[in-house]
Point group: C2
Chain length 518, copies 2
Amino acid sequence: MNKFVLLFLLPFFVQAQNTQNKSVQASRNWIKQEGPAILSAYADLLSIPNHSSDAVNIRKNANMISGMFSSRGFSMQLLELDGAPPIVYGERKVPNAQRTLCFYAHYDGQPVDPSTWKNAPFQPVMYDNAMFKGGKQIPLPKKGETVNDDWRLYARSASDDKAPIIAMMAAIDALKAAGLQYTSNIKLFFDGEEESGSPHMKSYLEKYHALFDDITVWLLCDGPVFQTGDPSLKFGGRGVTDMELTVYGASRPLHSGHYGNYAPDPGFMLSQLLASMKDAQGNVLIEHYYESVEPISEFEKAQLKKVPNIEQLLKEDLGINYTEGTGQTLFERLLLPSLTVKGLSSGNVGSLARNVIPSTAVAALSLRLVKGNDPEKMLDLVEAHIKKQGWHIVYTDPDHETRMKYPKIVKVDREKYGFPAAKVSMDHPAILPVIESVKSFTGDKLVLLPSEGGSNGIFTLIFDNLKKPGISVNIVNHDNNQHAEDENVRVGNIWYGVDLMSVLLTMPPPTIEKIKKR
Amino acid sequence: MNKFVLLFLLPFFVQAQNTQNKSVQASRNWIKQEGPAILSAYADLLSIPNHSSDAVNIRKNANMISGMFSSRGFSMQLLELDGAPPIVYGERKVPNAQRTLCFYAHYDGQPVDPSTWKNAPFQPVMYDNAMFKGGKQIPLPKKGETVNDDWRLYARSASDDKAPIIAMMAAIDALKAAGLQYTSNIKLFFDGEEESGSPHMKSYLEKYHALFDDITVWLLCDGPVFQTGDPSLKFGGRGVTDMELTVYGASRPLHSGHYGNYAPDPGFMLSQLLASMKDAQGNVLIEHYYESVEPISEFEKAQLKKVPNIEQLLKEDLGINYTEGTGQTLFERLLLPSLTVKGLSSGNVGSLARNVIPSTAVAALSLRLVKGNDPEKMLDLVEAHIKKQGWHIVYTDPDHETRMKYPKIVKVDREKYGFPAAKVSMDHPAILPVIESVKSFTGDKLVLLPSEGGSNGIFTLIFDNLKKPGISVNIVNHDNNQHAEDENVRVGNIWYGVDLMSVLLTMPPPTIEKIKKR
């Protein structure tokens, strides 16, 4: 965005702040009045088990959510594919809207092992603080009772990812009570199998393509706010692919005495190969590994500089003295492709260790990719490096003839389902108004992260298949035990979600696009 | 041994050859006449289950063996220790003997999994050739029937290690039938828990110390002859110790996306550490690692040169293109300390691999030691090397303070029960006559190996605690499936054992010592 455009936008920002403040005020009033009712409705939603494989309960969830929004004036339908949980889809049109926002969330959750939970995972329970901070169980609040922001509601999916759904419901009610109008057409898209990898997402987007053509921007409501508790927006995620390496010694495990110091030693051979790939500072030594990385814009660099420095906090949390890439922050590092060891295996260690030279040693590698990295080409680079170290590459276990021919043999198993990074530029014209709307009530505390470290196939599908921009809009606390036992959401974060949804539903019309069209 | 002594010995060698030939002839005659009876007696001995934990059957074995030798004029006793299988001990004195030979063997065997055996492991069965060569089952031969050398008797412990016991029994009978006298006092020492690591051996040797004081040389009758089938003697084994290394990343497994390219990566860290220890040719790079190795004598070097070259045979068998230490043979390599990876473990590989950066990576290392290497000092060298690479060594899992203080932390678990190599010099004055006796009937085919690659705690106890020399006297075929299913012994190897025992029982008096005393 150039200075000329910024100058034009000044009056728009002032107007935006006013509108947004009204929306936030509506949200706060509604929470004050109806907070206990919102939490009670949320407890009802959380009481339905929601693993994607539980077809009966998944449909109960879908029907309940669909009902919540159809009773609030949304046109709802369940999108269906054989053998897949339904997508809860809804829309509400606004006269003369010049933009369509689509809110993504998922209503399925991770599987649960109740024996590890303090309370039953689908019997939501309120605590007066986080359990790990000594919180005690309290009853759900009744109408008129004061609700404390630091209370926590414990249940599977309390944070991941039913929170945006309840926040949206409350925001709709809040804006209605205050008589405020939406400024964009609104679409809802609630996934029912995200925690199982959304295997039908691509087919859903293809089958129902017509529903998504008019979407201006996707708001991906999943994941926690910044580690400090500050609000955050993220503009993409890394891509991912894998490679497994199997290094061969003798054709059978050998006695470590009879053959030690003579037979090839797969553990050392693998170590030498891996050691050639990365230096002690964590820099990948594979040729051209960093070359295809697309540099971020000046605007993004400026935002990155504003991200609170949490390096020491992270080190303390992780119990580490150093990090890879000396002097770079986590968020700088996440803008580079990674190469990490997910697993090593050869023979046995500990009490199972035997006096053998194992016949193989295996390393599972993970590659996280950034904008510009092609998954196949990155795997090619690793293979080229391996060859350069003098290894003979095979793709199935070597036969005797191959074994006799080559001193160093490695089997390469390439991941078939890798996908590239999905990242939208922060200064994309459809994205800037979202940033500004959120900032209008969060102020400068809003943390803008160019990319998550993790990989989200849904981002990639939306960006690459639908050719639409999207950003990750975060609501819940980061210390929420998502995916684990005792998942919870901080009540203050639900309220933040209601504020946020109210603001997004009423964000100023897309002036930027208009300016550009002149 | 210097040339002067060799010159003196010439007349002795001529005399030796004559005596030995008579003994071998006695053995051959006896086998021809009583071969079927010997095999029948052996089948009886092999029909008693013999795992050291099976107290009832272990004692049956001990009593049967004891009876075999007491009925042949040996003074037998069962040496006892609480909770241990008995040692079957025997002696027979010869008037004016100037040397005492003690024959070690073990009557216990490896555990069996009958489901993996072709026949029941304790119902000995004769085959007309090795199963893997297409051999068919045949009845045990009857008196007068011809016995073929390539027949195989299948049963647990047929090779490992009841064969020397039956060979000794037959040799005693053969010499008696031929009216030949023993030339040494003879002691028998049959272990009942070798396959369980002989945990009581040290206590036995201490408790019954007085029985072993007068032994001139121990003949350790265990293990197969040379890979080519040629007869062999081995003069010791390598020592052994272990070390396990645990390398630390963050204090918990991390998401490989959220933290990949930032958090320390234990798999790569461990690889870098291991890669620093050994070069691509298999040479250990740890400072001073080879310095304490005691060089072998010129006599031994000369013997080593005569060992048949089996390098290509070994490579084909192991399915390998190269071996560590370019240009050196297996038996040269076994005279150096080894450093091998027994196991690697970090996270998971294959279908269990997850998207994590594991919190630790572990390597189990094996060190095989040669004469001159002290187990503790060798582990010290590895530790010194690790420190030199910039690692902070801990001996228990690091606490938070330690984690925050050091970038590279490794936990070292040192083996507590390592032991040094046990190796007698081939030209030891008590050993040379044994070599020459065996050579008198095997001729130049006899392979003399300075050391086994494996480690035998019994060698070490005898050499270090009893301060006695000993050598490994081998009888059985190397393709005998010892420790596995379908263990077997080639009948020709039993006959070789009878020849060998006959020769050893009648080897010429210790002229060498006499010469030295002059």
